[in-house]
Symmetry: none
Subunit: 223 residues, 4 copies
Amino acid sequence: MGKSATASRGSKARRPRRAMAAEGPRAGRRAERRQAILAAALQEFSACGFAAARLDDVADAAGIAKGTIYLYFRDKEALFQDLIRSEMSPVVATLETALALDLPVRAVAERAVEVFVREVYGTSRKDIIRLIISEGPRFPQLADFYYREVLSRIIAAVRALLARALERGELRSDAIIRFPQLLGAPGIVAIIWNGLFERHDPLDVRALMRAHLDLLFGEGRAK
Amino acid sequence: MGKSATASRGSKARRPRRAMAAEGPRAGRRAERRQAILAAALQEFSACGFAAARLDDVADAAGIAKGTIYLYFRDKEALFQDLIRSEMSPVVATLETALALDLPVRAVAERAVEVFVREVYGTSRKDIIRLIISEGPRFPQLADFYYREVLSRIIAAVRALLARALERGELRSDAIIRFPQLLGAPGIVAIIWNGLFERHDPLDVRALMRAHLDLLFGEGRAK
Amino acid sequence: MGKSATASRGSKARRPRRAMAAEGPRAGRRAERRQAILAAALQEFSACGFAAARLDDVADAAGIAKGTIYLYFRDKEALFQDLIRSEMSPVVATLETALALDLPVRAVAERAVEVFVREVYGTSRKDIIRLIISEGPRFPQLADFYYREVLSRIIAAVRALLARALERGELRSDAIIRFPQLLGAPGIVAIIWNGLFERHDPLDVRALMRAHLDLLFGEGRAK
Amino acid sequence: MGKSATASRGSKARRPRRAMAAEGPRAGRRAERRQAILAAALQEFSACGFAAARLDDVADAAGIAKGTIYLYFRDKEALFQDLIRSEMSPVVATLETALALDLPVRAVAERAVEVFVREVYGTSRKDIIRLIISEGPRFPQLADFYYREVLSRIIAAVRALLARALERGELRSDAIIRFPQLLGAPGIVAIIWNGLFERHDPLDVRALMRAHLDLLFGEGRAK
DNA sequence: GATGAATGAGGGTTCATTCAT
DNA sequence: TATGAATGAACCCTCATTCAT
């Protein structure tokens, strides 16, 4: 991630407090470490929750010393919040793009399902969502951020899509426009189910979400 | 003496606090206190999560001394699990009853929505469900219990209801029979939304769930 | 999360504090601290017994923070056991050497008495023995260790010595070969007496043990 | 123990603060309970030591409620000290009598051994001695009491016996007069051994003590 | 920068002691 | 007198955070 080459500085110069990640071999190394810590943090926070996760274990998993974490993050909470923030943003654009396609709703919806399954449910972002659900109530800033940067944007895109569909007569009712949450509900439920009951009763997410689309739009296949 | 198995301390089976539950003035007082502790615990666990909740605060909220908790619960975890178990069981029967009514699906579904809104969403049981979602992954026993005693029973009742409906031609498709989770999805989403985004964008649960029913069964009103 | 086995917390094998013991400036400092803690622990455990000793006081006496103890010892019990083990082992070799000398029994015995008085009775090892006597019944592992690493080796050395003496006709009877404990008995009694009645009736250990040897071997002086 | 019959009082009379255990059915019951508590306390203190013994367990073992203990003993320490005091006194007289017999030392010594084995080693008094050894250093009053009421009296009796023996030429030396502790040493060692190493290497006390007498007085049998 | 030893506040749990019944 | 529920101080242990190297 961004490991471009810059002029290596004369080795005696006082190192310049890193004003803003000027790209250099140093900056590259720095970004790598940051990523390693975030990855380890995701692992630990997912497994234990915020309060019970131990920075000791994060450091171990990242292959660094405990103190080093504090060179990259102010404290445990900053690490946690940065983690959440950094993971979700990228997927939004992809979803927005998928939802903006000028196709029949059903087709768009199926693509969005694909994106969700591939980019969220099938990756560690699923765990990020779980963390937001679990810890969000204790971290209002986080919920705020998530609402502002992720949810509201997706909801807006969904609303636009559905408005188009309504005009074209592709929608049975306006219920889902008033409550676009309903479109994402099976995704949320799948993530929760996966965390709690997978071993009692495994769930086929894709099938679940397709079934949901069938209910919303009728049985017709699209694409 | 802690966890290592070396220091021998004759294995005095911890005497089982209260074998008898003969109703007496004592038993009444006891049950009251137990309830007070559970109520306080719900408050604390909901607010902080299991790990971060402090028994000191539970005691304060219950108006008792810290040590008293241990007269009623073996330890923090037992308190937590007892809390979950004791709160959820009662509602199951009510839901089962509602779902067993021999009426059109839509009518039954609306009644179930009512039960949910009144008995779960409108009460602290909503917080219990949040706790199960948040802490369940770290307490497999809890998830097991919840699946066995609550979910599987409700799902069975839902399936029975839907099978009846299918025979009568009241169902557009069998999708929801294959994934009865879809029926509960809006409830779950509402609870989560309530915890995270209520202040950005309040949600009318009843309307949300009605809208969902409209999507599933068509716009027709029932009852 | 304590003792119950329910809350799952991935079994992160506690990383083994210090694998390497390569002598460095760090290792030296480390060993010093360890010794300081052990010395403080001896003081506290001797004064209060295992159960009543407070790690807070150990830390104070060692001039460190409470938490630091746990960087060197797993828990209170490990500290206790390590203390016992580390203090007693060194003296065994010295005693074995003294007992293996090819001299008349009486002479050897007198040297052993000297070793005991100088290396045990006159040092804090006396307190270690008191601790073994007091706490051993509650710490079978400790009694086992002590029997295996200390007592049985001394007894074997004593038996060898006495067997030689018996052949040479230096022994009045074989009684003491059957019960080599009798040779050490005055040492034990002296330690106990010292702890209990020193202020009522001080005891001259050396004289006591010499008198005992007189009884066992006759009045003859040796050396 | 002292269950004599007195006039039972009219049941309305204010109970008279029990000035001094006036013998009555009440007093008898009281003494019984006291004994039960002491017996239970001996069990617990022996098994766990003073600090680790729990009054809860004492109460359970005595078949009474925890609070009741405080009707008979001021606090945990008083219970402990009363326990030690009450158990040892009786045996002193017996030993004094045995030691005062006008027989050859060896014979007297053998009788004393018998008394010890029967009245101490074979009974729970052995545990009392263990407790004095273990806890005495932390309870100076106890050591004082024990020295005054038990040890000094036995030592005096032993000295008198040995003085007689010396006059009659039954003694090889005066060593044992100077250190009468030597006579009891095997008893002490046996008690300690029993607590620590019995399962590694069981000990025949009687044989041990006889062997010791052989060493002190020569092989001759007596009686 | 990186390290990891050290810190010490904090929280779960125990248990001697009290007191209302 | 007897009870046993209730108390709360005390203590072990953890872990986020700091800082000398």
